[in-house]
């Protein structure tokens, strides 16, 4: 995915006083993780236990939390 522009990071930290560089890094990491597994051809054909799905769902929830904090203008 396209790297985030340095001026965007600076703007977020300036305009969102509660935001931290670590949270921007966490947000970016969660976005990148979405693309790291094949959504159409999973390596294991067996049903995935719900416990293994939980981290992804938690990741999406965390992404939305971070979006509200860091990039509120992108909320649709």
């Amino acid at each position: 995915m396209e790297p985030i522009k340095p001026e965007v990071k600076e703007r977020v930290l300036r305009e969102q006083p509660q935001a931290t560089p670590e949270e921007i890094e966490e947000y970016e990491k969660l976005l990148a993780q979405r693309f790291t597994s094949d959504p159409d051809f999973q390596p294991t054909p067996a049903p995935i236990p719900s416990a293994l799905l939980a981290p992804d769902q938690q990741g999406e929830q965390r992404l939305l939390e971070l979006q509200r904090k860091l990039f509120p203008e992108t909320i649709q």
Partner: protein, 304 residues
Amino acid sequence: MTASPVIRVIRPGDTSKLNPYTVAIVANPALEVPWQSGAFSPDPIMLDHLAFEESVNYIEQALFGSLPGQREQFINDPTIGPHIRVVSVFDVGLTATYQNSLVAQDGASNQLIARRSVFVPFLSTYNLDADVIYAVSKSATHTRATSWFTSDDDARPGIPFAMDGRPLVHRFYNLIPGTVAIHTTNRSLIALHEFGHAASSYTNGAVFDLYIDLGPSINKKLNRPIPVVYGNYNSAVMSSDRTRGGIGYPPTWMTYHCELLDAAFPGVMDDYLRAASHVPEDCQHDRITRQFLIDRLRAKISRP
């Protein structure tokens, strides 16, 4: 209004083959808003053919190394470039439906996301196959490009290789091509960076972003301290990158990269916007990424 569809062959590629390595660049007929919602609306790109053609020109330049000052030239090699077909599709005659929507707007960011499973049936209506597909959007709100790796057809042949003794294969064919969602405003190394992802493979080597502490993959490893040797690719021993072209590794990171071809600049898959020269086009791929992509392209170019 433009007659539809407009299909242009930008580069003919290897005309002796029925299925030459192909990069397709398609105007996105419809946006899914937001991603995975099932709600579709026309993409503004369909009202701006000129902006689409400018994106086509830009993508072709970035891939073939002809951006002003661009140093990364691996595709512009006589054994690779002339064999690659580039085709563009602009079709204003399509409605905003599930099957015509190639790009979604992410609900959690300003990212454009390729709706990858739709691409093959969509292109088949034009009798086109591709290895990597760019879908160009002119979304009013979402401008950040993203890519999915290729889903290789691992049931079909290819050219074997080894990474650190692990047997892998540069497959000739795919089940789902590498897919890129890109915006009309995207320029500089974005198209080349996204090609690095899209041309790589879920099962035979994925090229990750180097600016995020996420791995391992073909171009990312995990360890501290950073070892001297990065790895062994097809009997070639490659060193580790200790400086990230001057960016440095954050102290909390566990991932590290392969040696750079020019240690003065970060890699194309890294945060090239932080190049000391402030000129992204100074950046080149690191050694493993470049060799992996060259070998993968040559394998596909050689397919029967």
